[in-house]
Amino acid sequence: MRKRITLFFVTCSTIFLSGCDAFEYHPYDGKISGERNVNAKNIARIEEACKGKETIRFAFFGDTQRWYDETEDFVKALNKRDDIDFAIHGGDISDFGLTNEFIWMRDIMNKLKVPYVALLGNHDCLANGETIYRKIFGAENFSFLAGNVKFVCLNTNALEYDYSRPVPDFKFIEEQINEELEGHEKTVVAMHVRPYSMEFNDNVARVFQHYINFFKGLQFCLNAHDHHIKIDDLFGDGIIYYGTANIAKRKYLLFTIKPNDEYEYEVVEF
């Protein structure tokens, strides 16, 4: 009887304690509270809201790692506008790959009025970070259609993988090139690390560029990682790479894709 009572108390207290956020088993314990699959849910919202639109306006920001205050300010600044369709986080959500870092950033970004998607950055791959990223945000390669523009978001953090996985994943790129989508006329390719950055697998830099040029109506490329605004025609083929600053610089890029193959961009300070 005494043993049973003890067992009952041990079970009850274990259930109570493990449900309590006051306890942390380990900073890398992968114990996720709150929303998961954020990208998929937001992609549904983006596709629905942009259906039939010919002018698309979106914000591109990134490298929020350990800059919670600045990210919060960015969210407030973006929420003051009502001319934006969605936002894209270019990767490096976390700084150390800690489980809580992803949760804290997700909670800040979830306050955005517009839907957002987040890419995988090299810092997000640290320790078991990528597993956490997959659970909270989704697959590391994904795409969505906003109006007539397809956004292809790619994992390009090759240095983190030691050839254990194809990065960039040409099979995925090829599937995306061959995918027939109703209304798809233009394409934007987004990534965390741009070609010729040390993190990128530079052996395939030109191959990568060759491949993405097969995308229907390729407009431009987006990247984060460099922590500076960097705008370059990397391969001299007219496809511009727009690199955004880290959020600590209080800047983001604003793009407007217009009908008739035109687009505009602006560096916005907040």
Binding site: D21, P27, Y28, D29, G30, R66, F96, L98, A127, L159
Partner: protein
């Protein structure tokens, strides 16, 4: 004749001295050996853990088990060696951890005959994830300073309190006392994050931990 007598006397005397000496040295040899062995065993016996400990949470695993040593004039110092595990949750596998923990308990307050309380415990501990996916310093493939921290080793600090029940001498069988403790702590990465961001509040980066210590020696 007299020479002979002297000789025999000397012989007896010498024999006695030699016998005595041999006894003395034999006796000395034995006590010296015993003394040395006693010291030898005492030195090694200091390595026997003085207590066992189990701790819940605390950034070192779901549960950590181990032992340790308390020492110092008022036994105010403690060194724990703990092994723990991190449950799988969203990760791919369960992972093992190892913790080396140093505690300082400056005061002890008696509460009645069998109880006592430590109003403050200060702990510093290093925790290591025993897994190849985690590194102590960034692998060679990265340029110098690319990642300037370790994913494997976390440095933690905690403050807490303890309550002890001392078994009365006549009731002691396998243990001297049992201590319940709680700690509130954080690690160095959370501290760095909190330092630069007012967004992070103490309940984001400070965490509670509970434990039991069973004092054997």
């Amino acid at each position: 004749m007299s020479m002979k007598w002297w000789n025999s006397k000397i012989r007896v005397f010498l024999l006695t001295v030699v016998l005595c000496l041999s006894f003395v040295t034999q006796a000395n040899a034995q006590s010296e050996y015993e003394r040395r062995m006693y010291n030898y065993q005492t030195r090694w016996s200091k390595l026997i853990p003085k207590y066992t400990k189990v701790q819940f949470a605390g950034g070192m695993g779901f549960l950590s088990l181990g032992g340790g040593w308390n020492y110092g004039k008022n036994k105010q110092w403690e060194t724990d060696v703990l092994f723990g595990f991190i449950p799988r949750y969203s990760d791919e596998k369960v992972r093992a951890t190892f913790t080396l923990k140093q505690n300082f308990i400056p005061w002890n307050v008696k509460l009645g005959k069998d109880f006592s309380m430590d109003p403050l415990s200060c702990s510093l501990y290093a925790n290591s994830v025993l897994d190849g996916d985690y590194w102590a310093s960034a692998p060679d493939k990265y340029p110098n300073g690319y990642y300037s921290f370790s994913t494997k080793i976390r440095f933690n600090m905690a403050l807490g309190q303890r309550f002890t029940y001392h078994f009365p001498v006549d009731k002691r069988r396998t243990r001297k006392s049992v201590t319940f403790f709680y700690e509130i702590g954080t690690n160095e990465l959370y501290l760095i994050s909190a330092f630069c961001n007012s967004y992070l509040k103490p309940n984001d980066y400070l965490h509670l931990s509970l434990g039991l210590k069973v004092q054997i020696l």
